[in-house]
């Protein structure tokens, strides 16, 4: 190393480290960032099997079924246009109930079922996750679904 350029070399090293970190981050993000899908989006975009994603929507009325082991549940997530069957093993949060908003983290398996590792609970339940609320409002069929539900209330 030419001694008189040590400062320049250090500066270049710093640039290399930061650029390297950015490249590493970008390549990891490509595989690991969990995109948010509604059931309709998921079917349209054909999410690859095994990719970590978030699935958001409403838990369809009457769809929650408990397995015999007492800790596995099956339910259906709907956005008013499409539905996805979900399986989850674990303790569900308080806010998880039929006809309520839900965000599940996990991946699709080969049969098109969504295997959730985690069901998101919010500490502050005053507001739905904005992602869910935004998507729900986009769905044109919301009011018809709501009417059917309102009748039962």
């Amino acid at each position: 190393m030419k001694a008189k350029h040590q400062r320049l070399v250090l500066a270049l090293l710093a640039v290399v480290a930061i650029v390297g970190a950015a490249l590493l981050a970008m390549s990891a993000l490509k595989d690991q960032a969990a995109y948010f899908y509604t059931p309709a989006d998921a079917h349209r975009d054909k999410v690859p099997v095994g990719q970590a994603v978030r699935l958001g929507g409403m838990v369809a009325g009457g769809s929650i079924k408990r397995a015999a082991d007492g800790v596995t549940i099956d339910f259906t997530v709907t956005d008013g246009k499409d539905t996805v069957p979900v399986v989850f093993r674990g303790i569900t949060p308080d806010l998880f109930k039929e006809n309520s908003g839900v965000v599940a983290e996990g991946r699709f398996d080969a049969t098109g079922r969504f295997v959730a590792d985690n069901i998101l609970a919010k500490h502050d339940e005053r507001y739905m996750p904005p992602q869910v609320a935004g998507e729900m409002h986009k769905s044109e069929s919301l009011d018809t679904g709501a009417k059917a539900k309102g009748g039962r209330t």
């Binding site: 008189k4 400062r7 500066a11 930061i18 005053r126 709501a146 539900k149």
Partner: protein
């Protein structure tokens, strides 16, 4: 020391360029922050319910001394304000004076109490004032969600035929009162 050794021009220029790199990087991040702040659209949930009919519901009594609430109340020919609130919600207390002002101005106001208990609602009304005619209790938020409401407080202006004419998200601030009064007038 390098100060007395003349450096090659290329090295000097290279170093000078690198020195500006942090500032450029910072400005890029800043632009990102600013865009996150400026676009309120991503947070304010756009209302899709305006112009749609109110969903059907019949809720039990939400507070002692108040009649229960059903959607039929909004199909009697007169516009009404429907306020979605909860006794545990701080912004709901903040909008109470504005609701009282609206009630004094002759706007009939009904309410849906979300995930609440009648005795808590009664305490809330005793403390912050009671502008409501009928109060329904929506224990599991199902009507709230059916109305396309994402949180509390929210207020809806509903015309005499049960059609939602205006949706106000968040607490009604003093400066929002004229807009709501206008919406009620237009719904006639």
């Amino acid at each position: 020391m390098s100060a007395d050794v003349p450096r090659s021009d290329a090295a000097k220029r290279g170093l000078r360029l690198i020195l500006w790199a942090p500032l450029v990087l910072f400005l890029i991040f800043l632009a990102m922050f600013a865009s996150g702040l400026i676009r309120p659209g991503s947070r304010d949930i756009p209302s899709r319910m305006v112009g749609k009919p109110l969903p059907g519901f019949a809720l039990p009594e939400g507070a002692p001394g108040h009649p229960p609430l059903a959607d039929a109340a909004f199909r009697q020919g007169q516009p009404r304000l429907l306020n979605v609130f909860a006794s545990w919600c701080v912004p709901c207390a903040a909008e109470a004076p504005q609701l009282l002002q609206l009630a004094r101005a002759g706007v009939p106001i009904d309410a849906i109490a979300i995930r609440d208990r009648p005795q808590d609602v009664a305490g809330f009304l005793a403390k912050w004032g009671d502008p409501y005619a009928a109060i329904g209790s929506d224990v599991d938020s199902s009507v709230q969600i059916a109305m396309g409401s994402a949180g509390v407080p929210e207020s809806f202006v509903i015309d005499g035929k049960g059609i939602i004419r205006h949706q106000h998200i968040g607490a009604i601030e003093p400066e929002d009162v004229p807009a709501i009064l206008a919406a009620v007038r237009n719904a006639r």
